[in-house]
Subunit: 247 residues, 2 copies
């Protein structure tokens, strides 16, 4: 199934995430979104606002995955260097793009389009623009790299706009089995045996810890619904057996 | 200043983060924590529960940064493969560690310590244990790599326990200047000029978008308080000039 091979990476660009000052809200959002359209997120990186780091990460990721989604660093200030770094990574020129200027003029008078704001219209040669319905300065897509804003509301709108141009795969379906009454250590062995028999599925066990102690969830993910149902039935049977042995 | 060179990376391990099912809460916490003790977080990666991905990431990061902090993958189930991957990355044997067993026996009877739970006591040779006051199964530190749980409450306790063993640098101080009334595009040029004159500082401009439109913050970060204060004064003066020109 070639569609299973649709993969992606996210590259988050920004000192503010690494300093902890800003808590990223984009990774989880994009991850869930891609899963929903059958694109398999395989890696995330966060790098600082440093040219060599951004260029190296873009080149490492774009050769490895079907798509790369970047967030951050496309504003008007000196620390916004993403567009220039993308151009460098692809080895193409970058300049003020008249299409981007047109978009920005929907929100701004021409006399307000100063040098700093024109930076936001700098687009690498050969890129397609991604509309920004909120503040108008666009994102763009060049090759398999989609460049988006860091502000969550804008990033989300850009992702909606670029999604129809992406080739998705068969969406993954997931089923969650609650195993609250049973500790992980008790079901780990039968679960591992079931997982080994279903190599096409991703089976994970996720404990969370809260005021009432540990609560565990077993998540089974896969593209073939029959296979998924069979594994879920086996896991439920194994848990029931353990429950009755406990009682 | 050699202390400025204390750097770190975070490696988050887990399919559940990449599928978007679980929203990571550890990156932002560790980032802020490290900033507070003068350790400069330079990179974050998220990788799936796949041996080769984990081993490659650990080796790429541990040779590049002073410290690497991993989260996730040290439980008792089949998808918990972090400890084995760390051993492989360091090229050392791994086996059940009697010290880890002792810790686990503080919470559990010996007859309940089955094969799956003993997996949590598997520690690479030469590692120091990191206590886990909540569920007892320890994390560990080997060389410059600190291996912690993925459950946030446990990760946070482990980080507290390992922090005294880390060599920190001079903590970074940051000052935030609100620039709500002014759009980024208006102050970008003077801010960039000031940033160019203070290469030892990190100066960023961070827009957020909410119901009342854009609100901007300029964040100045650095280790030398006098230099920091001088730059902040220059930025305030520049903003005041722009405000008065607007009025």
């Amino acid at each position: 199934m070639p569609t299973e091979a649709v993969s992606a990476a996210i590259l988050v660009i920004g000192d503010e995430i690494l300093s902890g000052r800003t808590k990223d809200k984009n990774i989880g959002y994009i991850a869930e979104y891609l899963t929903g359209i059958g694109i398999n997120l395989r890696e995330v990186r966060v790098v600082p606002d440093v040219e060599v780091e951004i260029v190296d990460a873009v080149n490492a990721l774009r050769h490895r995955y079907t798509y790369v989604f970047t967030t951050g660093g496309i504003g008007p200030t000196h620390d916004d260097i993403t567009a220039d770094c993308i151009a460098k990574a692809f080895g193409v020129p970058i300049d003020v793009d008249p299409r981007a200027v047109e978009m920005m003029l929907q929100r701004m008078k021409r006399e307000d389009l100063n040098e700093a704001r024109l930076r936001m219209a700098r687009i690498p040669e050969g890129a397609d623009l991604v509309e920004n319905p909120i503040s108008r300065a666009p994102g763009f897509r060049i090759g398999n790299v989609v460049v988006m804003a860091g502000v969550p509301a804008i990033m989300q709108a850009m992702l909606d706009n670029v999604a129809p141009t992406l080739v998705g795969g068969t969406p993954v379906t997931s089923e969650t089995i609650k195993a609250d009454g049973l500790p992980e250590g008790l079901y780990a062995k039968p679960l591992g045996e079931i997982a080994a028999r279903y190599p096409a599925l991703s089976i994970g066990s996720y404990p969370s810890y809260g005021p009432s102690g540990f609560t565990n969830q077993i998540v089974v993910r896969g593209r073939d619904l029959d296979v998924l149902a069979a594994a879920v039935a086996e896991i439920r049977a194994a848990l029931a057996l353990l429950e009755s042995a406990k009682a």
